[in-house]
Symmetry: D2
Subunit: 154 residues, 4 copies
């Protein structure tokens, strides 16, 4: 398996994930060849990312967000192993790098047999929805994001 360029060492990379959530593959998310649609990983990454942010209480309640909201800057997915209807997938999320107003989020999908099915990453940027400009993380957010890295480094 050739590694995507955002993974240096697979064992280390996998070990740094502390958060995960499960998704069930819906019938409507499978295609005429019987396996998961190429589009679906991005749905699952989104679900997992939102829960990850919620657990960190990073952006408050999304529906109330006014002056700063997280937006996706880019997204990518590498398809390692096929996923089928009925599979129970765990999506892992981590903050691989924290910038001034953006985070590089990494994703990993593992099936019920503990096999690596998907890897992925993408930048999330905090912006002011009215101006469209990036907004630096405040102290609370920075503290939450730091606590994450410490738990990984232990």
């Amino acid at each position: 398996m050739r590694l995507p360029n955002y993974i240096q060492d697979l064992t280390t990379w996998r070990s740094e994930f502390k958060f995960s959530t499960t998704v069930e593959i819906r019938f409507s998310e499978t295609d005429m060849f019987g396996h998961m649609n190429n589009v679906s990983p991005f749905i699952y990454f989104e679900e997992a990312r939102i829960k990850f942010f919620d657990q960190l209480n990073l952006f408050g309640h999304l529906a109330e967000a006014q002056s700063k909201v997280p937006v996706v800057g880019d997204l990518q997915c590498d398809y390692i192993r096929q996923i089928f209807f009925g599979d129970q997938i765990s999506i892992y999320v981590k903050a691989a790098e924290v910038g001034n107003s953006s985070i590089d989020i990494h994703y990993m999908a593992i099936n019920q047999n503990n096999e690596l099915c998907l890897t992925g990453r993408g930048t999330v940027v905090q912006i002011n929805p009215k101006t469209g400009k990036s907004v630096p993380f405040d102290d609370h957010q920075r503290k939450q994001l730091n606590s994450l890295r410490e738990s990984v480094n232990k």
Copy 2:
């Protein structure tokens, strides 16, 4: 605008697209903030990719494909400018690189005001669906893919 690493020079990169198709943003593809869901570009890229392959007659009729089928190896999207419900988007597709059994496909989305909204890329690999192994392109496919490159170089 910082360019993704799959684009060296934006003007050259844009000029190499010869194929495009239009998509309409569906209401069900917009989110609670009123703009296009992050997941939707991958739906549009897929639509455009299938039409691009059809025009080249590269993989035959998908439903009949038995011994070789195209599968997605990886996919990525960079979100340059927001897309809204009702926007008329043109999705451009090109084969940026052709390998022995795989193609590096690039994507570009332009809105009705000729503004660049999305860029993207992803590898498509031709495999035997029964064995899961890659299958080299045959002469017909190679000829079709070469004709593409010639038209770009003119």
Copy 3:
């Protein structure tokens, strides 16, 4: 063909549609049996309904709507003939009945060979999003809806 109970006479029913819009069946909207997902008609009905309302200028710009918004009370679809990936479908919409604060909308899907593929209907109710209570149509709306019926009766 047994008619659903919202259609008395099929020829009359079909002749009363004046508005239509086209949709393309996306690859991601087809299932492992190669035909359109059961869920997709409701996506297409929604697209067509929104364009129908827009043409009538019935609810203003949806994103700006504050004090009254249209909500779906119920929806149903009868699957007459299979729809496949690549089919060009026309979705017809009409206001079959107009009440004080609600409209009974009917739908019809015709494929590129002029074959009836889907019929459907559903109630749309105008409500105040804050109170959740129904709001009677105002004079402008009533005028627009009446103009519709006159054009049908001609």
Copy 4:
């Protein structure tokens, strides 16, 4: 609350459901008003219906089905109470009526506060996918479907 015509008495109707499954509302299934898309109930009904059939072992493994497959004849949904992102919904399924080659399936969605959010129904017909003609249920299927009714009548 005005009852849809497929429900005579709500208390009786609710008490007859023996099977349920849970679904989580995905972020991508919510709209710009912050609540569940109108299309989503049909996705959830489908998920629940497939699991219901699996539990009864009614149609075998869908991917292997050759000579007879279940297809949807019609579908309808009544929207009783709004559903929001993050809600935990239980979808209940029952076979309200069993015919020679078709079943009238009823659906009910209850939220985490035990509130009725959706009711629905739809016919599933067993057909031969090659001829498109209906195929009567065999003894095994009839036995499974009868066992269902007995458990309800107890």
